[in-house]
């Protein structure tokens, strides 16, 4: 009985000592590594001229602040623009270009563009290895003068191929932004 008790006490003491020896360090700060904070669309007129940028920026990620949308200028009537999109993580310095990851996994991603108002049409200019659109490069044609909106959505793991609508594609939204535009 005596040996058992000594053994028990030793066992107890060992556990207590090893358990409590962890140091209380200041935790390391975590910056979201794959958050998309910024989506920038650049529309360059086919015949040359000033490119127009549409930007949606949400620097606090899933924090309480809503994204801020800015549009650098108005679109011209009946013009074809070559469009390109960039998604960034600006919580890191320098900002991480997440478009590269999207390109690498093009089969699992797609940008969708839904216009309203005086935008005549949008066509994809790029393809993944299966021949399905990615949407990093596209063409946008404006119509008559008036108001328009453009909603850009990046989906992860959508159904591919799909009929071009968000509803058919499914998947998860990684980034989405709606821009109010004027065609003049």
């Amino acid at each position: 009985m005596k040996t058992v008790n000594i053994f028990s006490i030793l066992f107890l003491a060992t556990l207590l000592v090893t358990g409590c020896s962890e140091d209380d360090n200041t935790p390391e700060e975590v910056n979201e590594e794959e958050t998309i904070t910024t989506l920038i669309i650049t529309l360059t007129p086919a015949g040359g001229g000033t490119a127009i940028t549409l930007q949606s920026q949400d620097l606090d990620g899933d924090g309480p602040n809503a994204p801020v949308e800015t549009v650098s200028g108005n679109l011209s009537t009946s013009t074809t623009y070559s469009g390109s999109v960039v998604v960034l993580n600006e919580t890191e310095t320098p900002a991480e270009d997440i478009t590269e990851e999207v390109e690498e996994e093009a089969e699992e991603h797609q940008f969708f563009y839904v216009p309203t108002g005086n935008i005549a049409g949008i066509t994809y200019s790029d393809q993944d290895s299966d021949g399905n659109p990615i949407g990093i490069e596209f063409e946008l044609t404006t119509g008559a003068a008036g108001a328009a909106t453009l909603t850009a959505t990046l989906r992860h793991e959508p159904k591919k191929p799909n009929d071009g609508t968000l509803a058919d594609a499914g998947g998860e939204t990684d980034a989405t932004a709606t821009f109010d535009l004027t065609v003049e």
Binding site: E22, E32, E33, I98, E172, T173
Partner: protein, 799 residues
């Protein structure tokens, strides 16, 4: 004790002296030494003249025609030490025979675990015995407990089952695993208890905070899982259960082996392995719902009446795949899922466990020592160590997919000691102290902001419980407990969140460091909690029992309620804790009435629970991020009231046909807002018909019907702006699913293979009619139907 299944043998050896007057009478009572409970239906045999008498319902006996002499009475009992008592008989003599009746240490009963003592005197309490536990061998603790009245569960799919008692779950339900309070991150809705049900010998549920020896914060209740007792004799025995099932196309194997010696030494090993692939709803495969579980334990010790010790180590590892279709991006994805009525992703069957999934490992080590002091009582001392590691994997881009999004390690050390003073026959006192240290480490390597921060927690508690027997019919109890909790966290807040919460006004002094977009803060909060319980147990006859219990309980907020902050990807919601949250206080009244007649019996158990500062998590609004809009779920406090009743009845129609009936309902109200509480289980009606023929190899078959009503009392839905639809839409996040009806069939037979080996086969069919249904308390009800028909085959070998 009330069951009093004791056979008592009293041998009276008359002293020499035949010639005296032999018309004396010896009368007496056989009672339990500690509680003074009468031991009924005992056989008393006088060896020399073969005189045999039995004690009556009150443990009393009478032996006539004895001579005036000194007699020696020998009293023995299967679970008590045999005693020899000398009695001088002269005229009419009365003798009280007291038996040591400590089932927990001294058990020579052949069927292990068939006598389960109540944990409390007056609380509503129910127990699952070994047979019921074994039928859920391939399931989980939560699945098995749902068989009990008033117990439901909050599920995430069918593999993550959190038990709920009287409508409350999570931190309000304490789980004791062989005397160790589980510390396994019970704060999360999708965190199930890390317990292998196959290790249990019995599971008791105390439906309230009345068992103060285990903790004062069990506002929902306490689940006490005990191991099967090891007999005090030289023996070697084991058990293997093999389960196979069609839904999930897998099964499990559980095995245990026990070696015990007459001198008290014992060792027991036990293990369980479970593997399931994708499970199926009636109409489709529930893609990514497989599970893998490995559990093992080793226990050894020495048990004697006066002292003993035991040490136990248990390991539990589970990997659970979470329905792929339930992982969504934003509120539009959620609206689409709710409207479509079926999962967006249905793939061919696979055993692979893909993301989203979780992997949890729990280590538990325990060392317990006890000593009994003659004429005083019993002293216990226990140390336990627990380590819980949780990984949650989300669907992420590229290599990130192999990196956990949540990586938490919770380490807990607990030391407690208690003394049960049971020398007095009418009064028992139980006093105890507890100290606990806990450390949570949130690994920054996830690359995702922590949902739960690093923290250290200290707990100190002390309790005093008393039981006073007024007379044979009435037993009173009362208890008092005090708990101190300190939580010391180190957390990064986004500056924008800190300001949005208004913490820059109230808690600015907690800031340790300003890193620009994030703030490092160090909240240290103290909580002082008091719990009280008072109760009475009145049993006017052996088949009637009336119990009343009042419990005051206080619970300190858990880390999730205080510190949650951020996007919970698996739930597509932003969860926000509140540093201002204070302890909640519950006043619960419970009444139970139980009556057994010759062939039938009823039990009626109403209760009312008023909780001040009740902490709840519910959808409140929407926040916009670049990923779209997300519902915000915020913790808040309110005054809540839960009213409910559990009813059960049984009837033995003939010796072969039996029916069981059970009905449970609970109503939860938010008294500040005059609305319903969220996540309260719907009313549930069960009826079971059993046919048994012991003469046909113990054949038994049963058909159970379960009707779950629609939960009509839910909070309002919320209106959110849908960026995809460019308009406000109603998000039907609180709309309950329809009522449903399920049938379950079970049958079993036993075969003796050899003298010491027995095979029990059982066949069961769950959801016999392959009904499509969704359950309100399943968090995946937005995305997919619940499980379809499942055939289960079980082979159990006892050897």
């Amino acid at each position: 004790m009330k069951q009093s299944l004791f056979a008592i043998l009293v041998a009276i050896l008359p002293f020499i002296g035949y010639s005296q007057d032999c018309d004396n009478v010896l009368a007496g009572q056989v009672i339990d030494y500690h509680s003074k409970t009468p031991l009924e239906n005992a056989t008393i045999l006088v060896i020399n003249n073969q005189l045999e008498v039995k004690t009556d319902l009150k443990g009393k006996f009478k032996i006539e025609n004895l001579c005036t002499a000194s007699y020696q009475l020998q009293v023995s009992h299967p679970s008590c030490t045999t005693i020899v008592q000398e009695v001088q008989v002269d005229g009419v003599t009365w003798v009280d025979i007291k038996l040591e009746h400590h089932l927990e240490e001294l058990d020579e009963v052949k069927v292990v675990g068939d006598i389960i003592k109540d944990k409390t005197n007056s609380a509503q309490e129910e127990t699952l015995a070994l047979g019921a536990i074994e039928s859920y061998s391939s399931g989980s603790l939560g699945d098995a407990l749902r068989d009990l009245g008033g117990v439901s569960s909050l599920n995430t799919g069918s593999n993550i089952v959190k038990p709920a008692i009287h409508g409350l779950n999570g931190s309000r339900v304490l789980i004791l695993n062989d005397g160790v309070r589980m510390q396994d991150m019970e704060w999360g809705d999708e965190h199930a208890p890390n317990i292998d049900i196959n290790a249990a010998g019995s599971v008791s549920v105390i439906k309230g905070a009345s068992a103060l020896q285990y903790g004062g914060d069990a506002i929902g209740g306490t689940i006490v899982m005990d191991l099967a007792r090891v007999p005090l004799k030289d023996t070697l025995y084991g058990k293997t259960i093999i389960n196979g099932m069609t839904n999930g196309r897998g099964g499990s194997v559980a095995s245990s082996l026990t070696r015990a010696f007459g001198n008290g030494w014992f060792v027991k090993v036990q293990g369980n392995y479970k593997r399931l692939g994708d499970q199926e709803a009636p109409d489709y495969i529930l893609s990514n719902t497989g599970v893998k579980e490995v559990a093992a334990s080793l226990q050894l010790g020495k048990q004697q009446f006066t002292w003993g010790w035991d040490a136990r180590y248990s390991y539990f590892n589970t990997e659970i795949a979470i329905l792929r279709a339930s992982h969504i991006g934003n509120v539009d994805d959620l609206i689409r899922s709710i409207n479509s009525g079926e999962p967006e992703i249905v793939r061919p069957f696979t055993y692979d466990l893909q993301n989203p999934r979780q992997e949890v490992t729990h280590h538990l080590g325990k060392l317990k020592v006890y000593k009994r002091f003659e004429g005083l009582g019993k002293w216990n001392m226990q140390y336990d160590f627990q380590n819980n590691r949780r990984f949650e994997f989300d669907v992420r881009r590229g290599e990130q997919n192999d990196r956990a999004s949540i990586d938490l390690e919770l380490t807990t050390h607990t030391l407690n000691t208690d003394f049960k003073w049971d020398a007095k026959e009418q009064l028992q006192l139980h006093i105890g102290l507890l100290g606990r240290y806990q450390d949570n480490f949130a690994n920054p390597a996830t690359g995702v902001r922590r949902l739960i921060p690093d923290y250290e927690k200290l707990d100190f508690g002390g309790f005093l419980i008393g039981e006073y027997r007024v007379n044979d019919e009435l037993l009173l109890d009362g208890g008092l407990r005090y708990d101190f909790t300190q939580i010391d966290a180190q957390k990064f807040y986004q500056t924008s969140r800190w300001e949005e919460r208004g913490y820059d006004v109230v808690f600015q002094d907690l800031i340790v460091e300003d890193r620009g977009t994030q703030l490092l803060v160090n909240p240290v909060f103290d909580y002082h909690n008091v719990s009280v319980t008072l109760g009475a147990n009145y049993a006017p006859t052996l088949d009637t029992e009336i119990k009343f219990n009042y419990a005051l309980a206080q619970r300190a907020p858990n880390p999730s309620e205080l510190f949650s902050d951020g996007l919970h990807h698996s739930a597509a919601r932003i969860e926000l804790g509140d540093l201002l949250i204070d302890s909640e206080t519950s006043h619960k009244l419970m009444l139970s009435y139980q009556k057994d007649f010759n062939a039938w019996g009823v039990a009626l158990e109403p209760y009312a629970n008023w909780v001040q500062n009740f902490i709840l998590l519910e959808p409140t609004s929407v926040e916009f991020t670049i990923r779209g809009a997300f519902p915000v779920w915020e913790y808040r406090q309110t005054d809540a009231r839960l009213l409910g009743v559990d009813f059960s009845a049984y009837s033995n129609w003939t010796s072969q046909w039996k029916t069981d009936h059970q009905f449970s309902v609970v109503k939860g109200a938010d008294r500040n807002r005059n609305t319903a509480l969220i996540n309260i289980p719907a009313a549930d009606l069960r009826n079971k018909l059993t046919y048994s023929r012991p003469d046909w190899k113990d054949f038994e078959a049963s058909l159970e019907s379960q009707y779950v009503f629609r939960q009509n009392e839910v909070p309002d839905n919320i209106v959110v702006f849908s960026p995809e639809q460019q308009q406000e839409v109603l998000l039907e996040i609180n709309t309950p699913p329809e009522a449903y009806h399920l049938l379950t069939f079970r049958s079993k037979m036993e075969f003796a293979i050899s003298k010491k080996t027995k095979l029990t086969t059982s066949v069961a069919v769950n959801n016999l009619l392959n009904t499509n249904y969704r359950e309100y308390l399943n968090r995946q009800r937005f995305f997919a139907d619940d499980l379809g028909r499942n055939f289960l085959l079980q082979l159990k070998f006892n050897y």
